[in-house]
């Protein structure tokens, strides 16, 4: 690889605008990185040719920016593989609107990325296609379900990637690979052309190595929302939650100073979290059962889908109705309490050090269900409440592995999250965010 690419999308755009970099060379370099790293990390399920004929277009904010996405989105003439297989040619299939919006902004889609089967797991372990490796170390688990998206972003295969989040499926992989992950407000970004797991809870999300890159991508996807330029992070009111939270000592040592530094006052959200978590689980099992009913009864669904879906199919439908009825009530009550004196909540995400593959992959020699549960402990409740959340690393543990927290805002207030996230990144991680990393070769050696 000869060309050193700028770390962020805006720096790349600037270099192309000022002719410091050549568009064709930039595209070729990104394609080479994608192919080489993708093969090492086993994360590509489908390759697309990088089109260069359009050339650099200054007015398009993502012109020349290489991306790739979770294999859950419809592409032109292709239906996704969903972690089950490598997808299918399907003449007449149109790209999902989210994919199309990025393409219209000039982004180059290099392909589709591995994911947990049917988006239904907290790890990226797969049975029918290769399981991607964690660029932080082959022995470390990759979180799911948007596993390939996190691997591709962390390793520098692409600047950014789309994922989906039903119970943490953007935030968990981002956390395990030490990158940023934005779960958007439920319903803000169209889920048309996106295979559902639990439509009531599914949200499209974005992963990147810096908050600036998340912002560049988000502002294309939701171009009617206020930009971060309208927000002064110093004027945002914040609260943090640590009371009644169970954290490993090592993680507490890392995140407590961060939570208390960026949260101006303490709040206890335990009761809301407990209730919303239970209701989220009820909806997820029910909808997984409904959506995958035929595959479950035919014996074609993966173990995770069967485990969840069967419980859903054994649950009275009126429970599901009650969970839906209570959703507006719970969300309103939560917003009135949590956001009465705050614009952004600074909350725990990670409760334990990043697990090894053999601790959380099914069939692993040292499998510990508790470690698997710890991955998504503080995720699903925010899907029930429909709120946006930004996962970001804020430090390292005793082993030098990343430790992440999450920021949460009111519905449709992603610009608040991104503005505060940018300040935290600037203070703790540096201006450009996370450097690409690929320790895969070292681990093999």
């Amino acid at each position: 690889m000869s060309l050193k690419l700028p770390n962020t999308i805006s720096a790349l755009h600037q270099s192309l605008s000022s002719n410091k970099l050549d568009y064709a060379e930039v595209v070729a370099q990104q394609q080479e990185q994608f192919n080489t790293l993708g093969a090492q990390l086993k994360t590509i399920t489908h390759r697309l040719p990088a089109t260069r004929e359009r050339g650099f277009e200054k007015e398009r904010p993502l012109s020349g920016v290489a991306l790739a996405h979770k294999d859950i989105f419809d592409l032109q003439d292709r239906t996704p593989g969903l972690g089950r297989d490598f997808g299918k040619l399907s003449a007449g299939t149109s790209p999902a609107p989210a994919i199309e919006a990025l393409s219209n902004a000039g982004a180059i889609n290099l392909g589709a990325l591995a994911m947990a089967e049917d988006a239904c797991a907290a790890t990226g372990q797969t049975a029918s296609i290769p399981t991607p490796n964690n660029p932080l170390g082959k022995h470390l688990a990759v979180g799911g379900s948007s596993s390939g998206s996190a691997v591709a972003v962390a390793s520098g295969m692409v600047y950014g990637a789309l994922g989906t989040d039903t119970a943490g499926s953007v935030r968990i992989p981002a956390m395990t690979c030490g990158v940023m992950g934005l779960k958007t407000t439920h319903g803000l970004i169209s889920t048309k052309g996106v295979a559902p797991l639990s439509p009531t809870l599914d949200s499209v999300g974005v992963l990147a190595r810096s908050v600036q890159d998340l912002t560049s991508l988000f502002e294309v996807l939701a171009n009617d929302r206020p930009t971060t330029a309208t927000v002064d992070p110093l004027n945002l009111r914040t609260v943090f939650w640590l009371e009644n939270i169970s954290l490993d000592a090592d993680i507490r040592q890392t995140i407590e100073p961060v939570l208390t530094r960026y949260g101006q006052a303490a709040i206890d959200l335990s009761e809301h979290e407990y209730r919303a978590t239970a209701l989220q689980q009820l909806i997820m099992v029910n909808e997984t059962g409904q959506i995958h009913h035929d595959r479950i009864t035919a014996g074609q669904a993966c173990r995770q889908v069967v485990d969840l879906g069967i419980v859903g199919l054994a649950t009275p439908m009126h429970w599901f109705g009650e969970a839906l009825r209570l959703r507006s009530i719970c969300t309103q009550a939560f917003i009135e309490h949590a956001f009465a004196q705050a614009d952004v909540l600074v909350l725990p995400l990670q409760v334990a050090s990043l697990p090894r593959t053999d601790e959380v992959y099914l069939g692993g020699e040292h499998f510990e269900p508790k470690k698997l549960l710890a991955l998504h402990r503080y995720c699903g409740w925010l899907n029930y409440l429909g709120l946006p959340a930004l996962a970001m690393p804020v430090g390292v543990d005793a082993d030098g592995l990343p430790v992440s927290i999450q920021l949460v805002a009111k519905p449709f207030h992603e610009h608040h999250l991104l503005a505060l996230g940018q300040k935290i990144q600037h203070d703790l991680l540096g201006e450009d965010g996370i450097e690409p990393v690929c320790k895969e070769q070292e681990q093999i050696a």
């Binding site: 239970a278 009864t297 199919l313 054994a314 649950t315 009126h318 507006s328 449709f412």
Partner: protein, 91 residues
């Protein structure tokens, strides 16, 4: 049998009855959904369902333990629209 033993016995019997009721309920619903599980799988489902119900009742969500699984009166769409309106008020 002393009072404590009587109470323990009642609790154990109550738990057994609960477990039996959950077992029957889930089995009937699964059969309606064309799923005929073996005993081990059925036990696992019963355990998960019991846990879920316990979590929901602990969170003060009132749910009836019955076979009313008709989607007719659920009005799923109106609940979903109400939630979308709820979120939109913060837009």
């Amino acid at each position: 049998m002393n009072k404590t033993d009587q109470k323990d016995s009642q609790t154990v019997n109550g738990e057994r009855e609960d477990k039996h009721a959950w077992h029957q309920l889930s089995q009937q619903l699964l059969l309606k959904n064309q799923l005929d599980l073996n005993e081990r799988q059925q036990q696992r489902v019963t355990k998960s369902l019991t846990r879920l119900y316990a979590a929901l009742t602990a969170a003060h969500v009132n749910l009836e333990q019955n076979l009313n699984d008709s989607a007719r009166d659920l009005d799923v769409e109106s609940h979903k629209q109400a939630f979308a309106r709820c979120l939109a008020t913060y837009r």
